[in-house]
Symmetry: C2
Subunit: 487 residues, 2 copies
């Protein structure tokens, strides 16, 4: 039954499809329309208000959420921007999509919206159905255990815990906890609180809570002054572009990273801090849009298995279609599913899919008050239905080609400014010569009506909604040409 559903869902990606019924695009303005520089005077006024209680230093502009529509964000000064960043990659259907509006307008959803239950003790029939009919059909093949959570960080933290529990369970060989383990765990000491480790990668981003932050190595300002676990950090490939001209060098880069990963497994085993799991993004997103080859990921999976560790793929930013496949790791043709896949952002909620063996045998080990959120699951259900009906993953693959090809053309013309153009689907990016040029470029693009985001030290990233169409890509290209001419 489940396999059939999965196949059905996936099957659509491979049929010839028209991006039909995208009625929301007909409600969009014809293009960006700017009234002020960003932030405008009204945004600044709100930011002053915000400063009384908040740190407003990361605020870019204040959003008019009523007027924003489809791919267009409107700010409180009335500036209309084509948004290719979409609230840090978290809006799959853009702004005010009618399918999501209907969720809140349908009175039969009211009690699910109003009452937030403690799902771990008192699930509702609706939530059990949502797990089965909303989440299970998009599960990576072979990952039948689903753990709903609330955000990306807590999804990763709890996936780490599932890995630690899985490892200890293997070590224990089915035996019961010892008195010493139980007692020592209560005071944070081994053997109950063991000094096992998670391997992560240079440039990685997995969240900002203490466990997730120990695996995050994107920017110093994310980490400085916060205590961390002494866990191993491996290099993630840094390729030369264009890929097709640098095959030999890039293969060497894979070898270098894999050799170091292997070394770290051995080093940490002898430090008595053994690696029980490896966490990796299919594309390092916050860190600067770094890609790894299919071969790299296949060999990483093999190495991880050889070292009796679990492979956790963090699809918080890449999941739900943006790369032209539902999950980015599908691009790697792994011989079997990764052990755990975490998700959040475009899903509006969080959680992970895992192999059955990662489900703890005792209650209350992976647990919290809410354990998910039925209201967001209703929204997610509307999103996934729309993605399927409108073939938006395939749309993203095709529009991504248009977007990327245009970027490559521009990079030929501005070869000293636009470097290393790369991408899968609309998950595209390029580098600029340095951070100050990059930041200036993004600021000017915004003033020209394109809302985009930075990542890493020098990269510009595209994270449009899945309803991003060819015409939007052309607008981006045109505006880039305008801005680069003057840069």
């Amino acid at each position: 039954m489940k396999a059939a559903r999965l196949f059905h869902f996936r099957g659509l990606v491979h049929t010839r499809i028209q991006c039909r019924g995208n009625s929301i695009l007909s409600q969009e303005p014809s293009g960006p329309k700017m009234k002020t520089k960003i932030p405008g005077p009204k945004s600044k006024q709100f930011m002053d208000d915000l400063e009384k209680t908040q740190n407003p230093l990361s605020t870019i502009f204040v959003l008019d959420v009523d007027k924003s529509i489809g791919n267009y964000a409107v700010d409180v000064d009335g500036n209309v921007m084509l948004d290719v960043y979409e609230q840090i990659a978290s809006l799959p259907l853009g702004y005010n999509h009618p399918a999501i509006q209907k969720v809140f307008q349908d009175s039969k959803n009211l009690s699910q919206l109003v009452n937030r239950p403690a799902l771990g003790v008192h699930p509702t029939p609706q939530f059990i159905k949502q797990i089965d009919q909303t989440l299970l059909p998009v599960a990576p093949k072979g990952l039948e255990y689903i753990q709903p959570m609330m955000c990306g960080s807590c999804s990763n933290e709890n996936a780490f815990k599932a890995i630690c529990i899985w490892h200890a369970n293997k070590q224990r060989n089915g035996k019961a906890f010892t008195e010493e383990e139980l007692k020592s765990s209560m005071v944070n000491k081994p053997p109950g609180s063991p000094s096992v480790s998670l391997m992560s990668f240079e440039g990685a981003f997995h969240g900002r809570t203490f466990g997730a932050l120990s695996c995050t190595h994107s920017k110093a300002i994310h980490k400085i002054d916060i205590p961390s676990f002494d866990w191993p950090i491996a290099p993630f490939p840094r390729y030369k572009y264009p890929l097709e001209e640098n095959d030999r060098e890039n293969k060497k880069e894979d070898e270098r990273c894999l050799a170091r990963i292997e070394e770290l497994f051995h080093e940490y085993k002898s430090k008595k801090n053994p690696v029980v799991g490896v966490i990796i993004e299919p594309i390092q997103s916050e860190g600067g849009d770094f890609h790894g080859s299919a071969t790299f990921f296949q060999r990483l999976q093999k190495l991880t298995k050889q070292n009796s560790a679990a492979l956790l793929i963090d699809e918080v930013q890449t999941g739900l279609g943006a790369t032209g496949k539902f999950w980015a790791h599908e691009h790697f043709n792994l011989p079997e599913a990764p052990d755990i896949v975490t998700f959040s952002k475009k899903f509006q909620t969080g959680g992970y899919f895992a192999k059955k063996e990662f489900q703890p045998k005792q209650p209350y080990r992976i647990f919290n008050t809410w354990m998910g959120e039925p209201a967001k699951m209703l929204v997610l259900d509307a999103i996934l239905k729309t993605v399927k009906q409108e073939n938006l993953v395939e749309n993203t693959r095709k529009t991504g080609e248009v977007l990327l090809n245009g970027l490559k053309d521009i990079s030929k013309q501005y070869s000293k400014l636009i470097l290393n153009t790369r991408g899968l689907g609309t998950f595209c990016s390029f580098d600029m010569p340095n951070a100050s040029v990059r930041d200036k470029f993004i600021g000017e693009m915004r003033n020209a009506g394109i809302q985009m985001g930075p990542c890493g030290d020098v990269a510009v990233r595209f994270r449009p909604a899945l309803i991003f169409a060819d015409k939007h890509a052309h607008i981006v290209h045109d505006k880039m040409n305008e801005v680069l001419k003057k840069l």
Copy 2:
């Protein structure tokens, strides 16, 4: 302006009030009505379904969220239970309260419900107003910096980070980060990732992510197999009841705990793992409903200040009125506000209030994609308005007296079964001789129509909604008498 609002809000607590307009109570059934044992056959069937993808071992029954109303939870078998546990203390207005229904029925809220923005970069005017008009009026006096978050664990984790940043900033004396600090932080090493510590308490519960879990010491099953930080753990008072007969012994207990806290400050300073903050619950809730005296908390605050550490009070379970004051720590008459107060559960979302000095001076240090949730803030606004209009904090104080006095009467009759009866407001509890008697009692009470929860090794806790009234307390007392007679 803010002081005036605060005063106005608090003022209501001290005037004579009738619990008026509680129209939801008139929609309630007249009492519990049981059709099956818990879990009933339909619950069991859903639990079988759940087992395919989830760990169902913590599931108690499957909730019929459409039929539940006010203080009454209804399950899928049609059992009507008076709920004094309220989804692990997280529903302040019970089930299907009209004030919350209106939030979703009001079309002017639609765009806020539909679009989940990245509030750290693109706040909305509505959210800025919510911070000011919903959260600020209930801020503990003197805590003017508000950091919205999503759940209890991430609120505590981020409050820890704010404390670490505050401490490092003091140490740095306003100087810039050094190159060494920046570089070392990226690889989880000191000085950038310093080995500072947070002090927590035996029996504490602060959440289950890695930082929060290092401060949690409630039950071994919450912690076993998960790596932890080596942070100090102090004793929390364990009083003898009734308090009025054991004053001298309980004062000694305070002294013992405070002496050990002082020792730990010194020990960890010499271990080069200095304590930068202390996290404590006003009442240890998950751990077994342990109370500390006002004197204990006042002296803890003094000790914390003397050791240049921050005092974080975790009001995730105690906040929003359940103890008969809006914040439980108001019972302690602290000479000044604690440095940080975290909240979640009844707030439907999470976050913390802090002194201004705990606001990092740089952007992106306390940050994540969502940084709160406007949809939940709309619900919270409706909750807080209802609490104010219907004087539900005062209602809880008064009903709490009825509940507690009845429990004390019962404990006189069943003095070998009902021990250490205690409570503030309706945040009441008692101990039983051992876990198996306690668990049996809770099961029998549930089968008699009272849904209640355990905490710690041997305690039974009350966490009713703020609309819990005298008549509900009487039903609880009657059912307890029935069940205890047969136990």
